[in-house]
């Protein structure tokens, strides 16, 4: 009896649809959902802080030296002594991952910074100046967009050769068109706002308007995009070094570590599994925080969370 009444009530809810459903989800679900997503964001923050610490002070955190080869402990499965096991040289995989954090983070962060700087400059110039310059810049961006990002980065990295600087440049250039487009759109939208007209009417210089009004108001979407872009840059960097275009050093970064472990898949699952987990954890944390930030900045997305 009780269940059928419940079913009927649910049916009624569904019948009344829209408003009723929206109300219940706000009333009953809101507090709980906020709590669980806050925990997630907290965990993501802790993971990020830990990874940054790994990048800054690897030798404090890693129990072994990443170059120390121990012939007595080759290809050992994860244990208390070796948390993530050892590789075919007897190196401790956990220590290798900790020491590989710096390059992975460096590649991701620098390519985003370079990409945003170039993209935002081109986008603001195109959006603010307009006219023929705008057309030229944006057509070049369109052409850059016709080659998928990873392929463009690969091509540039192949032409430049391996190395940290070249990888950063390759990933940065392939991300420029995205940032330029967003920035241009923002600038064009804000250029037409009332306060810009007002500022112009009282005789403000274009450079003043650009730096005091237009840029601060257009920064938020670009920063959110850059945060999410950090995740994809780290993925791209790992992909490039997986293919052998990475920073060729004694201490491998995560992508290179994974690629080295591929030959031992059948005997040592841990060599490939843990570096991949580190990449995923890192990018996942960044994306969680980026998503939350975007929802906060963009009022249109409020209803989605």
């Amino acid at each position: 009896m009780k269940t059928s009444a419940g079913a009927a009530r649910r049916g009624a809810w569904r019948g009344r649809a829209g408003l009723a459903q929206a109300e219940t989800s706000v009333r009953s679900g809101k507090r709980l959902r906020f709590a669980s997503s806050d925990i997630l964001i907290g965990l993501a923050g802790i993971a990020l802080v830990f990874l940054v610490l790994c990048a800054l002070f690897p030798s404090w955190i890693a129990p072994y030296s990443p170059t120390e080869m121990n012939t007595a402990a080759i290809l050992q499965a994860p244990s208390a002594a070796h948390l993530f096991g050892t590789d075919y040289f007897g190196r401790d995989v956990f220590s290798l991952i900790v020491h590989g954090t710096r390059d992975s983070l460096l590649i991701g962060a620098s390519s985003v910074i370079v990409g945003v700087l170039i993209g935002a400059t081109l986008g603001s110039v195109a959006g603010y100046v307009g006219g023929r310059l705008d057309a030229v810049i944006m057509r070049v961006m369109d052409v850059l967009l016709t080659v998928p990002g990873i392929l463009l980065a690969l091509t540039i990295a192949a032409a430049l050769g391996p190395g940290l600087r070249n990888i950063v440049l390759a990933i940065a250039i392939s991300s420029v068109p995205g940032y330029a487009r967003v920035m241009r759109g923002q600038i064009m939208a804000i250029r037409g706002r009332g306060y810009v007209f007002a500022s112009r009417a009282i005789g403000a210089k274009p450079s003043f308007i650009l730096t005091k009004h237009v840029l601060p108001n257009s920064a938020a979407p670009l920063l959110v995009m850059a945060t999410l872009g950090l995740g994809s840059s780290i993925l791209a960097g790992a992909g490039l070094s997986f293919l052998g275009l990475g920073v060729l050093k004694e201490i491998p970064d995560w992508g290179a570590l994974l690629s080295q472990g591929r030959g031992y898949l059948t005997v040592a699952w841990w060599i490939c599994t843990f570096p991949g987990l580190a990449i995923t954890l890192f990018v996942l944390s960044i994306n969680l925080i980026g998503d939350r930030w975007r929802d906060a900045v963009d009022p249109k997305r409020k209803g989605r969370a």
Binding site: A17, G149, I150, L151, L154, T155, A158, L235, G276
Partner: protein
């Protein structure tokens, strides 16, 4: 309509020419001497190096080289591989079917999983499917393809021994790479479809339809999904291009034949004509897909059809 298609075709052609020039410029502007990567300067006399340069036309000015390059492309001459000195075009064309098959299978996985989960999660917001959709969405965009590929190999080949880890013959070898590559696309598509479905569900016309007493299922499929599909289709087009590019990594992970694998090898060997050829081919497919996407807008949205063209 025909005029609109014509103008889209023309601008696509321009974009392809642009991307050709782009690839050429990357190799022209960036440092690195292709001749020196072909021969070792310490063992070969400078005259030989100079001769080779002359032979390849590398000592001519930029515009002459660019024009010669376009001319060669028009006549179907993509040059010869610097490694095996075989012609590039047949080498690529021979491997294209395998890569296109993988791309199509991955796209199928991405679209089916992405659109289904996206729609269901928006309709049942806050439910279990919604949670699943969010997990797929977040992990899809956060996991590197090579790692998801390796995990699939570890689980289904090494542990369970259900599916082969490598090779390119038969349907079984297609499943794991398509899942690995498709999962990334599914992640982005879920996020996009869910978001745009929720946006459309909040539109006033949905309230009107409900007020008219239409069945919820009918509203969701016929009205909301169709309106939510336009941004999703744009993204799907871009995702297919990314999946095509992603075969570089996935074909390496699964030791599959295909142009992605050739590209990875060519990059390691600095075999520039092969790299150029493959990037050019990918750009053509990418532009072709985007053209189809633009045309599909008209099929989805009658408003665009009536206007004739979407510029």
């Amino acid at each position: 309509m025909i005029q609109a298609i014509g103008s889209r075709l023309f601008s696509s052609l321009l974009v392809i020419v642009g991307s050709l020039a782009l690839v050429f410029c990357i190799f022209y502007l960036l440092p690195g001497d292709p001749v020196l990567s072909m021969v070792d300067p310490t063992t070969v006399s400078p005259e030989v190096v100079e001769n080779l340069r002359e032979q390849l036309g590398l000592n001519r000015p930029f515009h002459e080289r660019l024009l010669a390059y376009f001319g060669d492309m028009l006549t179907g001459d993509f040059g010869r591989s610097l490694v095996g000195s075989e012609p590039v075009l047949p080498k690529i064309l021979h491997q294209v079917p395998s890569t296109l098959l993988l791309t199509a299978a991955s796209a199928l996985v991405a679209i089916v999983v992405g659109v289904t989960l996206g729609v269901l999660s928006a309709v049942r917001k806050g439910g279990i499917i919604d949670l699943l959709a969010r997990i797929v969405g977040l992990f899809g965009i956060s996991m590197p393809t090579f790692w998801s590929g390796i995990l699939l190999i570890l689980i289904f080949s090494v542990q369970l021994k259900w599916l082969p880890a490598m090779g390119s013959d038969g349907f079984e070898t297609l499943i794991l790479p398509a899942l690995a590559l498709g999962f990334v696309g599914a992640g982005s598509i879920v996020r996009m479809v869910r978001g745009s479905m929720l946006d459309v569900l909040n539109e006033p016309f949905v309230t009107t339809l409900r007020a008219k007493g239409l069945r919820e299922r009918l509203i969701q499929i016929k009205h909301v999904l169709r309106n939510a599909l336009i941004p999703a289709v744009t993204l799907i087009g871009m995702q297919i291009g990314d999946m095509l590019a992603g075969t570089v990594i996935i074909e390496t992970v699964f030791s599959r034949q295909g142009i992605g694998r050739i590209l990875a090898d060519a990059i390691m060997a600095k075999d520039l004509p092969v790299v150029q050829g493959i990037v050019f081919f990918t750009a053509i497919v990418y532009v072709g897909i985007n053209l189809l996407v633009d045309l599909s807008y008209a099929a989805i949205d009658p408003r665009i059809r009536r206007k004739g063209a979407r510029t």
